[in-house]
């Protein structure tokens, strides 16, 4: 088992690291009396699918919202390629966020816009491309995800799986370096779940992005993860590859994985 990358005294977080793309150090956050994260350290590996698992309410979503600076911590820092994200001013932060694509749990598509308008939204906001160029990019991204032909539909007319794929297409139009998925398979049937898993893997392979995926669907986790980290009691309890996590004998990790009932299959797949 490999523990979370420690904050060694000589660690220079201001220098981009060839292996680690996102580095979280000492992140602490509480809401009222509820301590969610407590001096949490975490590293996401560049170009890999990094999955964060943990019980409901463990703080997974809070952690990824900090990565994009959608939440501010009580203390701690997050470094992306040597940049401390919490030190950025509003203008720098806007630029910084363009490096990320966030796929929300329920897609968070704008109800009043069509699929095409949803996907075109970031391009209209952040580029000077004309309508034809934008339409071509959107068509390309939608086609890559098997959604060509849905351009004129509204989100309410789509199935859950299609909405998630549209959410991914919207996240991809600005060619982000880092893609974050917030529980991408929650509420989907097994076939749709497998399709979303394949979509995550294909996206990671095709666009060479660093993916951070939150999930507690262990079947899905074993299919897609290059690296798994578990949050428990406000900290990262364990991190490692699928094999390392399966071999982990920490009682909570062992119980969490075995309780899913897919450990054997996962081990086989791994």
């Amino acid at each position: 088992m490999s523990e979370p990358a420690p904050e060694s005294p000589g660690e220079d977080l201001k220098q981009p690291d060839p292996r680690w793309h996102i580095r979280v150090r000492g992140l602490t956050k509480h809401f009222g009396d509820n301590f969610v994260l407590d001096h949490l350290d975490y590293d996401a590996e560049r170009g890999k699918v990094n999955v964060i698992i943990g019980a409901s309410g463990a703080g997974k979503s809070v952690l990824i919202k900090h990565m994009m600076c959608l939440l501010r911590p009580d203390s701690g820092s997050i470094w992306v390629d040597g940049t401390d994200v919490f030190s950025l001013d509003s203008h720098e932060l806007a630029e910084f966020r363009r490096r990320f694509g966030l796929v929300f749990q329920f897609a968070a598509l704008f109800d009043s816009l069509t699929v095409e308008e949803n996907c075109a939204f970031p391009l209209r906001e952040h580029t000077k491309k004309n309508k034809e160029e934008i339409r071509a990019i959107v068509k390309d991204k939608l086609a890559a995800l098997g959604l060509d032909g849905t351009q004129r539909k509204y989100p309410g007319e789509l199935s859950g799986g299609m909405r998630k794929r549209v959410g991914l297409a919207r996240a991809l139009v600005l060619d982000p370096e880092i893609l974050i998925f917030d529980e991408p398979t929650t509420g989907l049937d097994p076939l749709a779940t497998r399709n979303v898993d394949e979509m995550i893997l294909e996206t990671a392979a095709r666009y060479k992005v660093t993916s951070v995926v939150i999930s507690h669907d262990m079947a899905s986790v074993f299919r897609i993860a290059d690296r798994i980290s578990m949050i428990h009691q406000r900290k990262i309890l364990a991190s490692g590859t699928v094999d390392e996590m399966l071999a982990n004998r920490d009682p909570y990790v062992y119980e969490f994985i075995r309780a899913s009932g897919v450990a054997a299959a996962g081990a086989g797949a791994a």
């Binding site: 994009m68 509003s90 806007a94 630029e95 910084f96 966020r97 966030l102 929300f104 968070a108 109800d111």
Partner: protein, 277 residues
Amino acid sequence: MAEAPEDETTFGHAVWIGVKDAFHPVVSFVDVLGGHVILAGRALSWLPRRPARAANYLEASDYIGFGSLPIVLLVGAFTGMVMSLQSVYAFRTFNLESYAGGVTAKALSLELSPVLTALMLAGRAGAGIATELGTMRITEQIDALESMAVNPIQYLVLPRIVAAMIVGPILSLLAFIIGMGGAYFVAVVIQNIDHGQYVANIKSILTLSDVIQGVIKSAVFGFVVILIGCYQGYHATGGGRGVGLGTTRAVVFASVSVLVLDYFLSDLLLSLMGTPK
């Protein structure tokens, strides 16, 4: 043996709890008021900054202005009519019914048009905006905006409050005009007041200052009503029930704020630009 827990039923502690509970509404009020001021400040600080997104302003103006026009005109017309009817009957006691026009015009321009327009905006546009933004908040659409490096306050709140400050006075003026039409119809056509005397009294009693005061009030009311709607929606929590509660609060807070603000604003405007004696 486990140590006994610290006794919390001391007299001092009970007094402290009592004082805290007694002042809780005050603290909550100041907290909410401060939240509104901060939201307004953050929104207005985006006004000179690009991108301007003219389409968002037009869309907000369309929703708040054109969308509210039928109900505002209906309310304006019937308010003018009933005000005229009551004035004619009241002044008839002293054979002064031709003064009904001037009194109705003064009341409509200074108070009834701005206040009733604001109340209609609170019930329709304020509630609608609270629901829309609240739904966007709980379905993470506002987070999505932020994740796409679009400031949600600049994108969602600023166009709505600016639009309300512009279309609020226009709606109020239209309510005043149609209200005066209704008042004229009731007084001159139904109650047989002399047209010449009726119009002459309006001209002698109503001043430009009255209309301007009404316009200023409408701009302030529009700003307050839509700001409250935006605040309640933007800070909605707790799923569908939370959105519903936010919408209710938006209507109640906005209506009460308009009526309370009306007194202080009237006092200020009358002292600054009231009709000279």
